[in-house]
Amino acid sequence: MFFHIVLERNMQLHPRHFGRNLRDNIVSKLMKDVEGTCSGRHGFVVAITGIENIGKGLIRDGTGFVTFPVKYQCVVFRPFKGEILEAVVTMVNKMGFFAEAGPVQIFVSNHLIPDDMEFQSGDMPNYTTSDGSVKIQKDSEVRLKIIGTRVDATEIFCIGTIKDDFLGVINDPAAA
């Protein structure tokens, strides 16, 4: 799920960045530091959308660095247990398949793939129904349900399932 939230961060700046462009410098450093990172609490920071305010700087003893408390608005992405997600399949093998939704890596074990879909090995390994009408292979887009999540400092892992109504392939690149 995406959320638009306000977060706060203390930014440390070297004195060389002070001057007329101070605000720009703080903002660009903030973007560099924060965008694309993960935190266990909020998930993946997709983009900073605005600065609420920049507080008064505090000089650190002995270093000359100054710490500014910055409040900013950002879009974060965090998967939840029970959430339905659309993802792109990255790898298919006999254990199941891996898929990605942005920074999230999802594993769907073959236990959680419908029983009528069978693994086919070969140059392009895939799971296919016996009548061949539905096929999951690399680059397929699937709709899946998250049943477990783990958010690390840099990565988000999920366990997913497609063994439920309205889940599975939503776009098959081979058929296009």
């Binding site: 939230i5 609490r41 909020h42 939840f80 093998n93 594993f107 693994f119 999540t149 783990r150 366990i159």
Partner: protein
């Protein structure tokens, strides 16, 4: 309960988001276990580690309310329904055997698993582990699938089996010319000599290897298994399989094995009765010798010869190479085809009950079938003759070995033409060959012409 109704969650408000996240985090990490102190600590740690701070006045709520709120938010279904669903799920969790894990979560129920266990399949995906029961299950379903396609498994070693690599600094002056001939790593579609500047290496593919892989992949599901590290394994796979047709994600390096300095089939998702291995190092496969087809080592570079104690000039220095048509890979491909056809085409029981190890043994036994061998000055005196590797090899190849001369003897294997047994062989018009004849026959899986392995007279010892 009252709290939930009078504080509706609005996802655009960050205050509520914070409490919502708290709730989600707690219910996610706790699973079906009762709330404990450990979770509280974990959460505080996460908070400390995190540079960002959510705006204050966060409200801690009781477990029940949290649960309802999260489920309601996430699923959007009715309160009653979601609670029931939740209960059902937790019941399912209790029964789960946790067959494996991904990112420390059970691949079946999604629950966080505290204890790491099972076999790591890092070559498929970082953080994927499977339990023995699950491996057994996967192997047996895969076996049926593979047999339907008339395929077996083939595990291939890299160094000295499919190719030969050297550090650039180890190139001798006589080998410098190779640098102008080697193709860069960016263009791997053809050629057989490659410069891998980033790894400070040069690699020569064994003659016939491209044809070998093209044909073998129709009969086998191919794996790479190397004692090299993962980046090396991937680079070599790119050279051998530039279009990624043969190996897929089945590339195993020493970083992925479970026992140090040993290769094992435990990380190979194939039943041992259907796996063949090509490797030049027998000792790497102590538990799977019966699956192994031993390869004659391919040395192209000087440093490689030197490393194995050969002082002759290398192919690179002689500007020559192993034969394409009669080299080791062409030979072994014929053997593999034979094993494959014996496994699938022989009438009789269901292929699933057959064992490729038995087929290999039978095939090997035919090589010297009908030969009777006597050794002369091959084993040290006092050595238990039937313990000697050559004796054992001859035996595996189907020859009968003896210590006594009699008319039924066909071959005398000797290091010296002057011994009594050697002279007997000449007089009785039996084959007199040196021990290399057995080694060559063993590698080539066919009786080599005896006249190429004559025995010299050792003078005045």
């Amino acid at each position: 309960m009252s709290l939930v109704t009078d504080s509706p969650v609005d996802s655009s408000s960050s205050d509520d988001f914070a409490s919502f996240l708290d709730a989600a985090l707690e219910s996610n990490s706790s699973g079906s276990s009762p709330e404990g102190e450990a979770e509280e600590e974990e959460e505080e740690e996460a908070e400390e580690a995190d540079d960002d701070k959510v705006e204050d006045n966060r409200v801690k709520r009781s477990k029940v309310e949290i649960l309802e709120e999260v489920v309601e938010e996430a699923c959007g279904s009715t309160l009653q329904g979601s609670l029931e669903q939740k209960l059902e799920e937790s019941a399912k969790k209790d029964a789960c055997t946790h067959p494996g894990s991904f990112g420390d979560m059970c691949i079946l129920c999604g629950q966080r698993l505290e204890v790491e266990s099972g076999v790591t399949f890092g070559y498929i995906h970082k953080g994927l582990r499977l339990h023995n029961d699950e491996i057994v299950r996967l192997r047996s379903t895969d076996m049926k699938n593979l047999l339907r396609h008339k395929k077996l498994y083939l595990v291939l070693d890299l160094d000295h089996t499919l190719l030969n690599s050297t550090q650039l600094v180890h190139l001798t002056s006589e080998e410098e010319y190779l640098k102008t001939q080697a193709a860069p790593f960016q263009d791997v579609s053809e050629g057989s000599l490659f410069m891998l500047e980033a790894m400070h290496m040069m690699t020569k593919l064994r003659p016939f290897v491209r044809s070998f892989l093209r044909e073998a992949h129709n009969l086998f599901e191919l794996y790479i298994y190397t004692m090299g590290d993962r980046p090396y394994a991937l680079a070599m796979a790119k050279l051998l399989d530039p279009r990624r047709e043969y190996f897929g994600d089945r590339i195993i390096s020493r970083d992925d094995g479970t026992v140090k300095h040993q290769k094992g089939l435990d990380v190979v998702l194939g039943q041992e009765s259907a796996v063949l291995i090509l490797d030049d190092t027998e000792n790497a496969w102590t538990k799977h010798k019966d699956n192994l087809i031993l390869m004659e080592r391919y040395h192209f570079f000087r440093s490689s010869c030197h490393q194995f104690g050969f002082n002759c000039r290398s192919f690179s220095e002689l500007k020559s190479d192993e034969s394409e048509a009669e080299g080791a890979l062409a030979t072994v491909l014929q053997v593999l085809k034979q094993v494959h056809s014996m496994f699938f085409d022989e009438p009789g029981n269901d292929p699933i009950d057959r064992d490729v190890r038995q087929v290999l043994k039978t095939l090997r036994k035919e090589v010297l079938n009908g030969c009777k061998i006597v050794f002369s000055r091959v084993f040290p005196t006092k050595f238990q003759a039937d313990n000697h590797p050559l004796w054992k090899i001859a035996d595996q190849l189907g020859a009968s070995c003896s210590t006594e001369l009699d008319p039924s003897v066909t071959h005398v294997v000797s290091t010296d033409a002057g011994t009594e047994k050697s002279r007997w062989a000449v007089k009785e018009k039996k084959f007199l060959v040196n021990p290399k004849w057995i080694e060559a026959t063993n590698y080539m899986w066919q009786k080599k012409p005896e006249e190429n392995f004559s025995v010299d007279q050792v003078k005045n010892q």
